[in-house]
Symmetry: C2
Subunit: 342 residues, 2 copies
């Protein structure tokens, strides 16, 4: 943890605002060369890192600053959720454009970014235990979030445990995040200002701006030993199911009629299916369970829907509403690739 | 760990090339939502994150790609060294310009970046356990390195343990890294091609291009209970000693005549002292030890020099070769701030 610039004041502010709240497993937070964590006895340590780069993962003209902060943390928390882990601490490396500290508007953006991140961290009781700061070399906000969690040794959910015959389930609804992104692009920035984090909730009103990582659900799956394999839906069902199948050495059949389509996606009937299959960033959980296990219709307050099953072989098949079988290809997309790479 | 782009092939290559070597404490590496680490029984977990952003922390026209990769990992390893930790695993988030994969020269740069990182990781037996990849939103190489290590519970060296009366020591020599940077700037890129990682060694021939994190020294300090406080010299002695003093609640006196000046800095007599005090990026260790403890002149093969002591109060004082006392102000600098921010 280096502070190349004179940003100690910034770090101090983060420490008092967020790090101070931590944490069961946090022995030493910001202010030394490393943070020190003490995982519960008998637990393993889980680690994940995720970029949130302006122009790739968010846009300052589409995402309110609270959303950018919320989403950065949500990406990492969702990875912990997928393995049933309990969050121990977060680390944020953040590079800010020079004007972020020099102008009032810049400072406000940063304040609101942290407010968004802070609110979600508070919900999940995750302390900020460190990170790095720098001036951005290119005028864009560059963030990398690290989440450290723990799970009882040998019990973390993995992508690789699925077996042919297992039933496939998803939490919540699909396609909402991509559908809201379409809407953001259409409306542009002016209409955004009214969308505060207070609207976020778990009701999924703003699945693109304020996705809800399924931490409690992941822990319930682990604790109740319901899932044989699990992954979070970050790149889209078609892509992430492909990962689960690849790691488990199986294929899959998905029933179109069973897919829980998010209302925001259902509002575009002609593309609802594509949004649900390939839209990505829903941050719901996809998991497999042995057919002998009775999976409740709701877990940790989230609806659970059976959408198909794992099968022998390597391919994925979509069975449409008329019963026809067609190949399901991984087709998650890179949301901003065309519009903002510079 | 998300793979927004089609860079799974890249990740697979890293996995086979590096991740495969790991590691005592690594239960599950690249290929799931999180990596799983199992620290030794009775150990705490240490975590540090460090940006390596092109234009801030390295320049493609000054640093050979092997150096950029080496330096990214060295920054994180040095933080573990400062606390006496044993490395468990590294995580790399890496955003590459679009042409990095599309052109032969781009691919070569990436190959050589990983070769540099890989070589240092091999020396310290650190597996790459995960990370994130993305296309860079601004044409610059953007890296964030995360190091996870372990230390016996309650034993990690901290900045905060120093007491008035403790003697102050540094490892190796100071100012070499900044002096070599001056030289790189003078010569520009043409002459760089000949400086391979084979020249790096521990002899400190290229302290800017291939700094050597003092992992073995940090572990020796911890094991032998020699140090009351420690920090790595990333921002320069004046700045990092300031951090140690601040966290320990003491002041310090430094003897100019005692400072071990690196030969590359000594070659510039008029600025050797400034380079040694403020140059930064030497990645040596600065530590305090009770006056009752006999500190060897060499530890883990690295020369150890007594340079002063901790005193009551809050200020830092430099005692020059004539015995005059002058205030020592934190004056680490941001190497590329003027020359490369865009």
């Amino acid at each position: 943890m280096k502070n190349a610039m004179g940003e100690l004041a910034q770090i101090e502010r983060i420490r008092s605002g967020w790090g101070g709240r931590g944490g069961r497993g946090l022995t030493l937070g910001i202010g030394d060369d490393c943070a020190i964590l003490r995982p519960p006895a008998g637990h393993e340590v889980l680690v994940t890192t995720d970029f949130s780069l302006e122009g790739r993962h968010f846009r300052r003209d589409w995402h309110p600053p609270e959303s950018a902060g919320h989403r950065a943390l949500a990406r990492g928390l969702s990875d912990l959720a997928a393995m049933g882990a309990r969050p121990l601490a977060a680390f944020l490396s953040l590079a800010l454009p020079g004007d972020s500290m020099a102008t009032r508007a810049g400072r406000q953006w940063v304040e609101r970014f942290f407010a968004g991140l802070h609110a979600l961290a508070g919900e999940h009781e995750v302390p900020l235990a460190g990170g790095d700061t720098s001036e951005s070399p290119c005028g864009l906000v560059l963030a990398d979030i690290v989440l450290v969690g723990s799970a009882p040794a040998g019990c973390a959910l993995r992508r690789s445990g699925g077996r042919a015959g297992d039933a496939l389930y998803v939490s919540g609804a699909l396609g909402g995040s991509a559908a809201e992104l379409v809407e953001l692009e259409r409306r542009g920035t002016q209409k955004l200002r009214g969308i505060g984090q207070a609207d976020a909730g778990t009701a999924g009103k703003h699945p693109q701006l304020y996705p809800q990582p399924r931490i409690a659900l992941g822990q319930a799956l682990l604790r109740r030993r319901l899932a044989s394999a699990a992954i979070d839906l970050s790149d889209g069902l078609s892509t992430d199911l492909g990962h689960l199948c690849h790691e488990s050495g199986v294929g899959a059949e998905v029933l179109e009629a069973a897919l829980p389509i998010h209302p925001l996606a259902a509002a575009h009937p002609e593309r609802a299916l594509a949004l649900a299959l390939n839209g990505g960033e829903d941050y719901e959980l996809l998991f497999a369970a042995s057919p002998s296990i009775k999976v409740p219709r709701s877990l940790a307050g989230i609806a659970i829907t059976r959408i198909g099953k794992l099968v022998r072989g390597a391919g994925m098949t979509l069975i449409d509403t008329a019963g026809r079988r067609c190949p399901l290809k991984p087709a998650g997309w890179e949301h901003f690739a065309a519009s903002s790479s510079r």
